[in-house]
Symmetry: C4
Subunit: 292 residues, 4 copies
């Protein structure tokens, strides 16, 4: 199934660069995806800044964090974050570890993150807090030992995100699209929570609002809509989208677009193309459902 993995690699590379372009990643942080055909393996970039990751950089590792085939490439030091969570959480398909400036104040001040608007609801009711100091005393703070990875996975529990004291956060998802959506919108929510607090008070969502808003936002339509925008913004930044990319598409470009959700499978090839605007006039089959 070589073609399938080529597409998966392209999607993971794109997710890396999108998260860098949207301000979540700087030179550090990483994204992984469970192998679509083998739940005992996952894909992740070799040791490289996310903004630079290309499909050829994506390696296959096992759930011990070892390369599936020998590789001359350096691995990220913290692959155990991914290996440990994929082991502990069979429902998890994609993982992101990051140090976004918007969430770090919470990891430093030890203040609870809460959803403050509907788009932030995908973090869930609770974001647990993990501190390497509790189990391991003074460390370099990075999660490089499998025991540290397991401790972090335990702290994550059944939740969607875990804050890491004086370090950052780790986010999980049921698909790559969901992961990217949750990662970006939990960071934006954190920033809004901070601003609301400075302004006076934080009146967040009720538990039931969190459930309903999360369910609403994590449908395929809103996630695709956001992904398309992020992919276009990235294409523009990388100089891959000239004026033509935004011109109205010709009728010959029209083709059916399925809206079915792919949890453990990545979206159809057409979605991975970096010039979504070209599909402007695409004619999907009539659909009665609504987006946002």
């Amino acid at each position: 199934m070589p073609d399938s993995l080529a597409q998966v690699r392209e999607e993971i590379a794109l997710a890396n660069r999108i998260l860098a372009n949207e301000g979540v990643f700087d030179a550090f942080g990483h994204v992984s995806l469970r192998h679509p055909d083998n739940p005992e393996q996952f894909l992740i970039s070799r040791h490289r800044a996310p903004e630079l990751v290309q499909p050829a950089d994506i390696l296959v590792l096992d759930l011990e964090g070892k390369p599936a085939v020998p590789t001359p490439h350096r691995l990220y030091g913290e692959v155990t974050i991914h290996a440990s969570i994929f082991q502990a959480r069979p429902d998890v398909v994609a993982i992101c570890h990051h140090h976004a400036p918007a969430i770090l104040p919470y990891a430093i001040a030890r203040v609870d993150m809460v959803p403050v608007y509907h788009l932030g609801a995908s973090m869930g009711e609770k974001v647990p807090f993990w501190d390497s100091r509790d189990d391991f005393g003074d460390t370099a703070l990075v999660v490089v030992d499998p025991a540290e990875g397991k401790s972090l996975a335990k702290a994550l529990g059944p939740h969607s995100m875990v804050l890491m004291g004086r370090h950052g956060a780790t986010v999980v998802g049921a698909s790559l699209r969901e992961l990217v959506f949750r990662t970006i919108y939990t960071a934006r929510n954190a920033d809004l929570q901070t601003r609301a607090k400075l302004l006076g008070a934080v009146h967040g969502l009720s538990p039931e609002e969190i459930k309903k808003a999360a369910a609403y936002n994590l449908r395929p339509a809103p996630m695709e809509r956001a992904w398309d925008q992020w992919a276009m913004r990235l294409a523009e930044k990388e100089g891959r989208a000239g004026p033509a990319a935004r011109a109205p598409a010709t009728k010959s470009a029209a083709k059916a677009k399925t809206g079915t959700r792919a949890a453990t499978k990545v979206a159809p090839k057409a979605k991975a193309k970096p010039a979504p605007a070209r599909k402007a006039a695409a004619k999907p089959k009539p659909k009665k459902g609504r987006g946002r």
Copy 2:
């Protein structure tokens, strides 16, 4: 009147992308315009991130939020915001629903927004606050039910903007230009109000200053001047404006430019062109009036 609608579609698409480029929209939010020839209809993009909206994406809906002609495209889930307000407010020609980072802290902290500088005066003396929880209890926060839309329209009342608890804001205008101007400057005003509060105190405009400053700023000249800048900035971002776009225009480019206000009609075609700088040397008819 196919030509007229082509122009209208172009303007609405431009307004979508301008509002994204100026930091009001991210992947979500939408802009609508009452149909220039049929007040019982309005135009709005199909379900798509505003930054990507093209003229071909603009659909015609009736005041129930149903497509005027069958369409295979997905609609925004919240079209009832637009339909309900166009029903309730015959004076409204354009509507924008958004989640700008600058205004959300007010929707979360439940702090009153007030004009703090002349350019923010277009929000008016009062920005009412609507909370979906009051009438509908725990929801996904999105306004998808016509009853919710009507409740929001009622909360808006005769005002120009309504804050939506834990969600965002909805802004209305007597023209597309006015709407875009008000949307951008109320967001900037909110940011300044926050900074002033952090610095010490908010000494806002008096009621009479609000009226006078709003009237001054919502004349065609200031609104056109701002629109021209936003259109140029967008053209640059989209790679449509090369160095030539900023070069002094030749005399052959000179042509009359009317400054008359078009409330329910969009500006003349020349205004919709994405390279305003080419009109650098345009020769308007002598005018004694002054701008800012």
Copy 3:
């Protein structure tokens, strides 16, 4: 002296676009320069967003704010700010009126601006506060009446900058370079003062430090160094600076560069070129003086 004015127009247009590019101007604000050969006149753009101003937009006005020759173009509504200050302050050569987000909180909270680092010292020991309400009651806040302009000029007094309540600021300079330098660095200083206050306390410069640091920074060398950077950044944004603009210059490009200060005269033509990097290997005459 047509060639001289062509150069002056180019410089003023550049100053407008630099101030927009560095975050001082949005669609509003304006820059003026006293006529180099006639102190009873000044140059300013026609009614246009600063980011779009081209040399052909620059008009000549008299000290009543009337066009020196009939023009079909709309004027800024607030030309009296410039006319009144040029009248009251023979030492002033350039004026900028703006609404920079960094300074507006001071105009809203009525908190004193003070120099908090050496580069902010060019504001001087005191930035007076003018409130249109004091003399004129409730207005649209804009300064359109000559009486308002004179009141503002009086409040400015012998200082370099005046804050305008709920409106913005007006800055003056002994040259266009000095004006642009002061305008940008007083805005940056304001932002730093705000951050220092949020962090704990503002320990600003002593009166003697202000005098010495202002004298040091307003020498030609630092001002040229900053101007060169701003001009390059603008050229890059406008697509006028390709990779070649940054390549090491060839020896054939070398030519003498005078460092003499031009207060009422603009810099030599070479300075107005938008690709300063081309002068990388320029060979100035040996000089023992030092910059920063």
Copy 4:
């Protein structure tokens, strides 16, 4: 050894422009490197905005701050900062003096900077505070007199960074890469410390965590990874990186990449190339070590 210095000049110019592109420098600030073959000399740009510095701008000075060979170029006024520290600290290979907006509030409010996340640990346990007023009374705040330089070097002591009251900071490193890494991440750490304080409290690293995290981050792999990203971002900004720069590299581009640390020597020539992405498929020798 003309070839060696050519490479060093290229690296220093790149460091200048990277630090400008990452928000540390504006028109002011400077970077120096001890001469790789003569510890009694150092290299630094002529008087020029860092964002514009090219290899041809780099001069060789002695430890009195005098040019090694006569030069017609203007020098930075504050070369004594570099000369004095290179004299006092034989272990220092590279120095950066800057006024980053993130650190200035600490230099104004006199609040201690502390590492709040692992990437900020490279500042060390203590950042001393130097105030020109203590030894020299009221000055222009700039460090232009050798006595001032020596006083500053004394305040720096054995530390990696020193805050300068109402002025900025000076940072040192054991290599150019280490200096750039420390300069950028201490600025980001400062910004996070400010945000955490606004959010509630600053729970920083323990002394042992600081030591371990600093040692972990200052290994060659993390520093190269960050440098590669910064170099790519700069190349994109300068228009030197087209779409091709990000395309997967061909096998013919593969070549060994040594990971050995070069403290007083700059990295091998390949590292200085401004299009790191072209090395995407480079095949380094198998390595068991891990990065982050």
